[in-house]
Symmetry: C2
Subunit: 490 residues, 2 copies
C-alpha cells in the first residue's frame, strides 16, 4: 500500500541491498563456525576494541553494511569460546548449526510467546510435551521454557512455596504462614537455589545445606536429622532440592531415595537437573537418575547437553494446576477470548513471571527434529567416555593429581609439585588455567574441591575429540613445568 509522503517505516528502502548483506553475513557466519577449531578458543577483547564499543549512543544511524562491518571487527572475534572443540569451562553447550537457521526464522516471525493463539504457542506446547514424555512425567503435568535452570529453579521453588499453604497465599504473602519455611539441598548444590530463596523472600537462612558423602552426593541421614531438628524448632520443612549432576563434580544425589523421603514427609521434591537430567535420554545413565521422574518439579537446560543455542531451559511441574495457580493472573487486557487471536486457555504467561517471551521453542524444535533424541544421547555418552579417557590420562601422569573420581562428565584435577605449599599450588593451577586460556589453546575453568583449587574440565561439547583432550593435557603439563621452573629460578 502506498504511504503518505511524510510517513516512514524502518524497513529497508532497498530490499535487494538488504538481502545481499544478509547473505554475506550468513556466509561469513557459516565459515566462522566451520573453521572454529583452527582459531584460538578464546582471546581477550583488546583495550582499543573495548574503547570503540564504549561509544556514546548513536543519535544518527549508519548503513547496515557499516554496522555489520563493525560487528565483524569488534565483536565476532571475541566469542565466549564455547563453540570451540577445546572449550571445557563451566557448563556450556557448543551450539548447533541448525540453531543459526532457527534463530533467523524466529526473528522473522518475531512472535511474543507470552500467550494468545498462534503457531509459536503450539511449537512450545510440542516441546514441553516431548519433555514430559522423555522424563516420564504424567499428562496432567505442565511446563514452560525459560532462559535456563536459574530461572527454572526460581519458578519450581516458588510453586513449592505457594503449594505449601492452603488459602490465599498469593494475596497474603509469607507473613501468613504460621511457621517459617525451610528448604534442603546439598552443600554442593548450585547457587541459584539459594538465590531463589532470597528472591522469594525466605532468605538463605531458610536453606539447609546438607553435608555430602565422600562421592559428593547428599547425605540422606544428615538430611533426615536436619528435617527432624527443624520440626523440633517449630519450623516448617517444605522442599528438598536434589541435584542431578552437581556443577563442581557432576555428582548425582540419590534421587529415588529423596523422592521417597519427600513423599513420606510431605515435602515438595524439586530436582535441579541443569545438565545432568538429560542423561535420562541414555541407557547408560538412566538407571543412575532413577527418581527424577518422581520429582514434583524438574529444572533443566537445552543449551547445555542438548547443544541448543543460548538461552533455552525448562521447568516441568508434576501437577499442572498447582503450577498455574502460582502464576496465572489475567486482567481485562489479557483476557482469553473464545475465538480469534486471544483464544486459548493455558497461555505460557500463566506458568511463570514473564509476559514477554521470545520464540526460543523453535531452536529446541529444530534441534530435536533434526537430531532426534538418539543423537543427543550419543553425544552425552561420548562426553562421559571422554571424561573417563581424561581420567585415565591424568592417572598416568605423575605431575597431575585427580581430585575427584569421575562420576559423569566433569573432571577435577590439578598440577602437583613437591615443595609447593597449599597457596602456591592454588596459584600455580590458577595461572596454568589463565595461561592456556590466554594462549587460546583450551578453556577449562577452575573451582575449589575440598578447599583446594582445581582445574575443572566440563565436557558438554559435541565438537570435542580425544585429540582435544590430549592437547589440553599436553598444554597443562608443559605450562605447569614452565611455571615451576620460573618459580624455582626466582
Amino acid at each position: 500500500m502506498p504511504s503518505l509522503p511524510n510517513e516512514i517505516s524502518l524497513d529497508p528502502l532497498d530490499w535487494d541491498a538488504f538481502r545481499a548483506t544478509a547473505h554475506v553475513a550468513l556466509d561469513e557466519a557459516i565459515e566462522f563456525l566451520r573453521g572454529v577449531g583452527e582459531r584460538p578458543v578464546w582471546q581477550p577483547v583488546p583495550e582499543q576494541t573495548r574503547r570503540l564499543l564504549a561509544e556514546p549512543v548513536p543519535r544518527l544511524g549508519s548503513s547496515l553494511d557499516e554496522v555489520y562491518e563493525e560487528f565483524r571487527k569488534l565483536i565476532l572475534p571475541y566469542a565466549t569460546g564455547n563453540i570451540h572443540p577445546r572449550f571445557f569451562g563451566w557448563v556450556h553447550g557448543a551450539g548447533l548449526t541448525n540453531g543459526i537457521i532457527a534463530e533467523m526464522l524466529a526473528a522473522t516471525m518475531n512472535a511474543n510467546c507470552g500467550g494468545r493463539d498462534h503457531g509459536a504457542i503450539y511449537v512450545e506446547k510440542a516441546v514441553i510435551s516431548w519433555c514430559k514424555e522423555l522424563f516420564e512425567f504424567p499428562s496432567e503435568s505442565s511446563g514452560l521454557l525459560v532462559s535456563g535452570t536459574s530461572m527454572a529453579n526460581l519458578i519450581g521453588i516458588c510453586v513449592a512455596r505457594n503449594a505449601r499453604k492452603v488459602g490465599n497465599i498469593r494475596n497474603d504473602g509469607l507473613k501468613s504462614y504460621p511457621n517459617s519455611l525451610v528448604a534442603y539441598t546439598s552443600s554442593e548444590a548450585h547457587e541459584s537455589v539459594a538465590r531463589a530463596l532470597e528472591i522469594l523472600g525466605m532468605g538463605t537462612s531458610s536453606l539447609r545445606k546438607i553435608p555430602v558423602c565422600a562421592d559428593f552426593t547428599m547425605d540422606l541421614e544428615a538430611l533426615r536429622e536436619a528435617i527432624e531438628a527443624d520440626r523440633g524448632k517449630k519450623l516448617e520443612p517444605f522442599c528438598v532440592v536434589g541435584s542431578a549432576g552437581t556443577v563442581n563434580t557432576g555428582a548425582i544425589d540419590p534421587l529415588d531415595e529423596l523422592a521417597s523421603l519427600c513423599a513420606r514427609e510431605g515435602l515438595w521434591f524439586h530436582v535441579d537437573g541443569a545438565f545432568g537430567a538429560l542423561g535420562y535420554f541414555t541407557n547408560a545413565l538412566r538407571p543412575r537418575l532413577k527418581g527424577l521422574e518422581r520429582a514434583d518439579s524438574l529444572a533443566f537446560d537445552f543449551h547445555k547437553w542438548a547443544q541448543v543455542q543460548y538461552d533455552a531451559g525448562c521447568i516441568l511441574v508434576r501437577k499442572g494446576d498447582v503450577h498455574r495457580a502460582a502464576f496465572s493472573m489475567r486482567p481485562a487486557y489479557l483476557k482469553s477470548m473464545s475465538r480469534g487471536l486471544a483464544a486459548g486457555e493455558n497461555w505460557p504467561c500463566d506458568f511463570g513471571p514473564e509476559l514477554s517471551r521470545s520464540f526460543r521453542a523453535l531452536k529446541v524444535w529444530f534441534a530435536f527434529k533434526e537430531l532426534g533424541v538418539q543423537k543427543i544421547a550419543k553425544v552425552i555418552d561420548q562426553n562421559c567416555e571422554q571424561a573417563r579417557y581424561l581420567e585415565r590420562r591424568i592417572s598416568r601422569e605423575p605431575s597431575l593429581e585427580l581430585l575427584v573420581p569421575v562420576s559423569l562428565n566433569i573432571v577435577c584435577f590439578r598440577f602437583r609439585q613437591t615443595g609447593f605449599d597449599a597457596n602456591s599450588l592454588d596459584k600455580l593451577n590458577a595461572d596454568i588455567v589463565a595461561d592456556i586460556q590466554e594462549a587460546g589453546i583450551a578453556a577449562p575453568s577452575t573451582t575449589r574441591v575440598r578447599d583446594r583449587l582445581a582445574i575443572r574440565v566440563n565436557i558438554t561439547n559435541h565438537r570435542a575429540r580425544r585429540v582435544d583432550f590430549d592437547a589440553l593435557i599436553d598444554a597443562i603439563l608443559s605450562r605447569g613445568r614452565e611455571c615451576v621452573a620460573s618459580a624455582s629460578a626466582k
Copy 2:
C-alpha cells in the same frame, strides 16, 4: 583435526548442503517479511496443523531440509501477526529486518552472557550505557537486559525490597522486617507489578492500587492518604510504582511529583515504562515524562517502541551498588579471576536472577546503530500522530464512540447501537474484534474501560500507515452493521 572413527559431532557432514539450505531459508524469510502486508494479519492454526505439531518426541532425526519444509508448512504461516502493518493488538513492536541478521549472528557466536570476559559482555555494557545516557541516569547507575518489563519490574521491586532494610536481608528474609512492607501503584498499573510482589513473598495484599483521576493517571492525593493510613497502622511503605504509559490507555502518571513525594517520604521510586519510557527519546513527549530520570529504578522494553525483536527489555537502577548487593553471589565455580576468560568484576549475573543469558544485546546494538535514536523517535512520534488521526476519524463516525481521549498511542473506542443493552454492546464489540482478526483484516485487541468492553488499538508499529487505520475503521463499521442486522433479524 581428524576424529577417531567412533567419535561423532553434530556438525553437518556436508557443509555445502547446510549452507544451501540456510541461504534458501534466509531468502524465503526475507520474502515472507517483505510481502507481509499482502497476507492476512493473522489466521488460526488449523486443527490438522495442530495435530501434526503434537507428534511424539522424535527419537530419530530427519534431514535439515525435511525439518525446514515442515517449519515452512506448519509454523511460518501462523505468526502472531505483530510484523503486519495492521496489527494493533496489545503492545507488540513490529520487529526490524536487521534483527534477522543480528539473531543469526548471535546464534553463531552462541555466547552465554551470564558473565566472564568476552565480546558480548562489552556489547551489553555499551547498550546499558546508552540507556543511562538516554534516560539521564547517573554514571554510578547499573542495568541489565532482561526478557521484558515483567522481569524488569520483578528485579526493580526486589532491589527496592532489599534496599529497605539495613542488615542481612538476603540471609534473614522477610520475617526479619519488623513491619510489613507496603507498595503503591495506580489501579491502571500493569499486572506484573502485583505478580512481582507475590513472587517476592509480600503478597498482593501488600500492594495498594491507588485510584486514578479522570485521565487515568494516579491520584496523588489518594496516594498521600494511603501512605499516611498505612503508617498509622504500623505498616511500612517502601515503594511507589509509577506508570509511564499504562497498558489500557497510555496514561502517564505524574512522574515528577511522584519522584518528589518518594524523595520526601523516603520511598523507592520505580517506574514501569514498558513502552512509554521510550517517549523520552522524542522532543514532543519528553516534557510529559519529566521525573522519569529521577526514578530509583526504571523498567522498559526494546521490543515495543524500539521495534527490536522479541525478547528484549531492560532494568536500570540508579544506585549500582544497591542493585548488585541484591543479587551478586559468587561461589568458587563462578569466581572472577584477575585475567583469562573468568576476568571482569561486574558480571551480568550479579544484577539479576539469571546465570544463563542469551546475547540479546546484539539485536539492540544493531537496532540503535543502524537506525540511530532519531529514527526510533520519529516512529514514536508518527505512531502518536496516527493515534490522533484515528481519534479524529472515530469522532466523525456516529456509529463509533471514543471511550478515552487519546493521550499517547492507544485508542479505546467501540461500536455503538441504540437499543442494545450493556451486555449486548459488549458482546457486539467482542464479536467485531474476533471477526476482523479471523478475517485477517486487522488485529486490534479488547480491554475493559470503566466496565465497558473496548476495542483497543495500540500503535507501536513502524509498518502502519494511515491507510491501515482507514481499513481498520472501514472493517469495524461494516462488520458492526452486519452484526447489528443479523441480531435484529433474529
